[in-house]
Subunit: 382 residues, 2 copies
């Protein structure tokens, strides 16, 4: 397999873009990435998206976006793994370039979620779970995560307020990210007083949905653009039971563990080498479980990383450095691409006030459902 670099990035702000169609958001991010890379050839387009069939009555996003951005004719496809769609699209593009079938591929993650009533969006998101055994029984994603968080607190003796640092850190970092949806600092007091959604998950444990698009240009080594072009040194996907109740141990994200282990092996690094980690903090509990599954914390001890400041920029394992899902926002099918854009920003030294000094090795982990699909990428600045 050939070596693959990320030579261009682009993104729109995450927000409520009611006046702009989905293809327009995708186009803005895509054209920004193409300009950033300075390429004059794109061989294929990989679109990551989850909800357009239900919320936007539009499938066939590969051809749609290729046509819209002036690349009519090129190979194009849409990839879906629920909230892991963006990472999965990057993985598919990586295979295309690594195989030698393409020299340069465009990855676009796009989602438009805020035009529809909230209950429709919640029902659409529930299609990421098992329809027969979860969604049709009325279980929403926030409810599934609440069950996990409650169990975790019971099993390991944590109180709700012990998770505050995940949210506080994400909000603090988002202040410096012009594309973040929530740019407002929060305090520990705000955290404990926030409105309850699904006990014990309150509003500040949950990431906000949003409209947005992010894009990457992947290219074979040698086709570098004008910017620092980190190598996509590892790309790995693993799955787990789609229904949470089907797992031997619901508090262990086995797919996260396996995809991270495979990624470490591909990149020839270990958890101790990762200098920045954009993880899938859709809920505080997911941030904790991901940190443990990827080897950054002993089992049941991840809240301690927050309390000790290890997850902050300057700490041992900085996470959500541009705001994470919690504060940058979670336009679901686009999220995995936003994470990769943000790791590239860190490795380029473009992260401003939340720059991880001298970062050379970064990781992004994108999760579909409640841990059923996990995509892990490692980027290395050579």
């Amino acid at each position: 397999m050939r070596s693959v670099n990320i030579i261009g990035i682009g993104q729109t702000p995450v927000g409520e873009h009611w006046e702009r169609p989905l293809k327009d958001l995708a186009g803005e991010a895509a054209l920004a990435a193409i300009a950033d890379a300075g390429v004059d050839r794109i061989d294929g387009l990989f679109v990551g998206n989850m909800l357009s069939p239900t919320l936007n009555r539009q499938m066939h996003l590969g051809a749609l976006v290729a046509d819209w951005i002036g690349l009519r004719g090129i190979e194009a496809v849409k990839i879906e793994s629920a909230c892991g769609s963006g990472g999965s699209a990057a993985r598919a593009a990586w295979l295309a370039v690594a195989s030698g079938a393409m020299e340069a591929a465009l990855v676009v993650g796009v989602e438009k979620m805020t035009d529809t009533p909230g209950h429709e969006t919640t029902a659409a998101l529930a299609t990421a779970a098992d329809a027969d055994d979860e969604a049709d029984q009325g279980v929403s994603f926030v409810a599934l995560n609440a069950l996990l968080m409650r169990r975790y607190m019971h099993e390991y003796g944590w109180r709700h307020e012990d998770f505050a640092a995940f949210s506080i850190n994400a909000h603090a970092n988002a202040l410096a990210n012009p594309c973040a949806r929530l740019r407002e600092a929060i305090t520990a007091d705000d955290y404990v007083r926030a409105r309850m959604i699904s006990d014990p998950i309150n509003l500040l444990d949950a990431s906000p949905i949003g409209d947005g698009a992010a894009a990457l240009i992947l290219a074979a080594a040698g086709l570098n653009g004008p910017k620092v072009s980190p190598r996509l040194a590892a790309s790995a996907v693993a799955t787990d039971s789609i229904a949470v109740h089907g797992r031997h141990d619901p508090l262990w994200l086995s797919a996260a563990e396996r995809s991270a282990r495979e990624a470490y092996a591909q990149a020839g690094v270990g958890a101790a080498d990762i200098e920045v980690f954009e993880l899938h903090d859709a809920f505080s509990i997911m941030a904790a479980l991901s940190l443990e599954a990827c080897g950054f914390s002993p089992r049941g001890q991840a809240p301690r990383l927050g309390q000790e400041g290890a997850i902050a920029v300057g700490g041992r394992i900085p996470i959500a450095t541009r705001g994470g899902l919690k504060a940058r926002g979670h336009p679901v099918g686009a999220t995995g691409v936003y994470q990769l854009v943000e790791v590239v920003q860190q490795l380029r030294g473009e992260a401003g006030p939340t720059q991880v000094e001298g970062a050379r090795i970064g990781m992004a982990q994108n999760i579909g459902g409640s841990g059923a699909t996990v995509v892990t990428h490692i980027l290395v600045r050579e």
Copy 2:
């Protein structure tokens, strides 16, 4: 890139499987393909599907199907290119194996369309078109194809009855396919008398929808199973304007032409070398346009191939040899995988009464939308 073979196939009958959930259909085809290949390792799963988000309220089919068939943990993803989803899933699997990332990959095309009222299915299918400029204006797929057929008849001087052979041939071939949905011979008289749907398209110009699943095992050369394992000698995708009115020439499927040309180049063959062609005859007019775009007929002359018997088994370019979309049925996201299963059957000599004698080189072409995504594969028995 490494050489890739198709070492196993599986399929369910196409029909109305109201009593069986989508994952059960997918599982039957997948397990049949695994047994057929005699493999004991599968590294990844690629699911082709279009409508499950809207008709079955279920996304995340990669993890869902992997879990259901006992392959929990493996890499899995869902691919969507409207009615071209099945071919696109095979293409994604080909990249994974050709790149060296996987030794053996499972492709499953699955669709469940008959549980919902017809108007819901029609509206869901229309999401393959441009939502803003086509679907929201009330244009359905049969209407788009009717416009194309009317224009073709006007431009080249054909009468409706001149297209009869496409339908008669497909129905005749389906008689010998136990998985076909419509196993009933039709006559030229039946054809002209069939109920009008969208003038000039009548019931016998249009393929029936259906529930069904088909599967393939793709493997690196050397990992052959007990059966004849044709080489997947070419895999190519091209796109066109998603909206028909955006094309310079609506009667020329430029994406079909380009993906076929690219496939011929990859396989080192030409149109004259193709001995069996499973094309995307969703409507009679699509069969005609595909034959022309792929170089089997001069422009505007494809109905002549039908009149001369060239498209029948034993003719110069046999098409729809197992019934095609017209009579095997068109479970949309699964269709592209059914086509590849059928070409493998021909190259193995397993096609029974509709066997193309000594067939060694076969082609499958899967179309998304009205020609916006076209996937072409060429298989060669070495």
